[in-house]
């Protein structure tokens, strides 16, 4: 379970470029919630995920993961509980290392690194199984360097890595945005499959409103560092893209006219 209480983050404080990225935001996710996050550019979606992951320190507030206060923990310690997939397919993997080495690194997420062998033969059989599940033929290329894979393959691999050791929370930051439509769909289907399989609590940012409505059991919309719309269950299923635009207009008021274009 994730609980966020009154967190704020301002970038470039005290300059003309001051930007309030998160404004006294609170959010609680129940176990097994699959939440899609939408909002225009600069709404604070990525900042929210980065704050939860610990990439930058928060200005104030609390972040609880499974009732542990992780507000001040460094990024690598929070990684014990959190699996992440980035927007940039290059960011989630080590290009010069083999597929099995990347998986072995991910399998040890949150464990301290010892002088034991980095990847055992026994593990490789398991990785082969899981890679076969991706349906990309990667199971026959265990020793290939990840740098040789395509963006879609790397993103699928990163997704597998993020869920290899079951995370308490999965953070997906527009992880299909850099992929072609077909590959994006494949990776998205895979995401649903993995999340359902392991019943993962998930936060997924997307710019595709249809996906945001179709996938997950809850949807939140952000604007100017705040959550302006939060809907779940049956009510979410009844949403339409038009309805979301309407909701957005109500919540954001007059300013909406400027932002309509980026939301479609």
């Amino acid at each position: 379970m994730l609980a966020i209480k009154n967190i704020s983050k301002t970038f470039n404080t005290g300059t003309v470029n001051e930007k309030k990225a998160l404004d006294n935001l609170s959010l609680t996710l129940n176990d097994g919630d699959f939440v899609t996050v939408i909002g225009g550019n600069g709404a604070g979606k990525s900042t929210l995920l980065n704050m939860i992951a610990g990439v930058f320190p928060i200005d104030c507030g609390h972040i609880y993961l499974d009732d542990k206060d992780v507000s001040l923990l460094p990024e690598h310690k929070r990684a014990t509980f959190i699996g992440r997939v980035f927007q940039d397919p290059l960011m989630g993997t080590a290009a010069d290392m083999a597929i099995y080495e990347n998986l072995a690194l991910a399998a040890r997420r949150g464990k301290s690194r010892t002088l034991a062998w980095g990847a055992s033969v026994k593990e490789n059989a398991e990785y082969k199984d899981k890679l076969a599940g991706l349906g990309l033929g990667l199971e026959d290329r265990l020793t290939s360097k990840v740098g040789l894979l395509s963006g879609g393959q790397r993103q699928a691999l990163t997704l597998l890595m993020a869920t290899l050791k079951k995370p308490d929370l999965l953070l997906l930051d527009e992880h299909t945005a850099a992929l072609d439509p077909l590959t994006a769909k494949k990776v998205l289907d895979l995401t649903e499959k993995l999340v359902n399989e392991h019943n993962l609590t998930t936060l997924m940012i997307t710019h595709n409103m249809k996906d945001a409505i179709r996938i997950g059991n809850r949807l939140i919309m952000m604007y100017n560092g705040k959550i302006i719309f939060d809907v779940e269950g049956e009510e979410k299923k009844k949403l339409s893209v038009e309805l979301l635009h309407e909701k957005f207009r109500q919540a954001a008021g007059e300013e909406f006219s400027d932002d309509r274009s980026v939301l479609i």
Partner: protein
């Protein structure tokens, strides 16, 4: 004959300095960190070993202690970079400059001869006797240098091979690839950077200690230009063996690169190059060795374009 002798000397020197190049390889290629503390920590290794030997400590033990001091040097650069957030190059330079004074403090003077003291090399050379049929070709000193050099470099290569296959070593290699990924998988990139710098500088100090013992003195200037020599060794190794292949091959190619570098130097000195111009020569050598693969690649690309375009043009009508 004198060419042969100088080549034999170069072979031994190349192997001893090759260990230093291996240390630089860890930061330069595996961690992707341009560590300039090398020049300082190499001399530190020599200084520590020389002072200990002159104070009656066992030469082998002095090498081990030099290695430990090298670890500390690396930790300093690592902490400056990760905790104090000083950029890599500047952090290395700060350590290097600071170590110059530290080395003078350790030695008490700028040059410390060990002519009367026993080093590993002089002990071994005194203990073995070779038949004249051998010594007419290669001196005992050179045999000992090559033998001890091979022993230590083999040890370092095997340990490196093992270490970078472990969980910790894998995490360090990944840190050199993609820090975001490493943090997302629960490893502190700061810690990995510090550990890698420690190991690297430990190996460099070890090499410094061996070189000081072999040449019979430690000098505060002995590390000047070491980083360039290391890069020359790495690059020459890469040009000859390529950047692919297994890890053993990569490591061995660096030592071979170091030997070839020493031999090139020995030959050009024999041919009459003023030793004052050596550093310029080395700089040019590294620049050329780095440029050659780029030009070859470009050439290959152009040749392929011409070949394939000719084929296409011969089948279809030209525009």
């Amino acid at each position: 004959m004198s060419v042969l002798l100088s080549l034999e000397g170069a072979l031994g020197q190349g192997i001893l300095w090759g260990i230093m190049a291996l240390g630089v390889y860890i930061t330069f290629r595996l961690l992707n960190f341009s560590d300039l503390s090398v020049d300082g920590s190499f001399a530190t290794g020599g200084a520590v070993s020389a002072v200990l030997i002159l104070n009656g400590i066992d030469p082998v033990l002095s090498v081990v202690i030099a290695l430990l001091v090298g670890l500390v040097c690396g930790a300093v650069t690592g902490i400056l970079n990760t905790v104090c957030k000083i950029p890599a190059i500047l952090a290395g330079i700060l350590t290097q400059i600071g170590l110059y004074s530290v080395n003078l403090m350790i030695m008490g003077q700028s040059n410390l001869p060990m002519l009367k003291a026993d080093t590993m090399f002089s002990c071994l050379a005194g203990a073995i006797s070779l038949p004249e049929s051998v010594t007419s070709w290669i001196s005992v000193n050179n045999v000992v240098t090559i033998g001890l050099g091979l022993l230590f470099s083999a040890l370092v290569i095997v340990l490196c091979y093992w270490f970078f296959g472990t969980e910790l070593g894998s995490a360090i290699r990944a840190t050199g690839n993609n820090m975001n990924m490493v943090r997302a998988n629960g490893v502190s990139t700061n810690m990995m950077t510090i550990i890698a710098l420690m190991i690297s500088n430990g190996m460099i100090a070890l090499s410094g200690a061996l070189v000081a013992q072999q040449q019979g003195y430690a000098d505060v200037q002995m590390g000047v230009g070491a980083i360039v020599m290391a890069l020359a060794s790495i690059v020459i190794g890469e040009v000859i063996f390529g950047r692919g292949g297994g890890f053993y091959r990569r490591l061995i190619s660096i030592v071979v690169g170091s030997i070839i570098y020493r031999m090139i130097i020995a030959v050009v000195l024999q041919l009459g190059l003023d030793s004052n111009n050596l550093k310029l020569f080395t700089a040019l050598l590294v620049a050329v060795a780095l440029t050659v693969p780029v030009i070859l690649d470009k050439h290959k690309q152009t040749a392929m374009y011409k070949r394939l375009t000719d084929v296409v043009d011969s089948v279809e009508d030209k525009f």
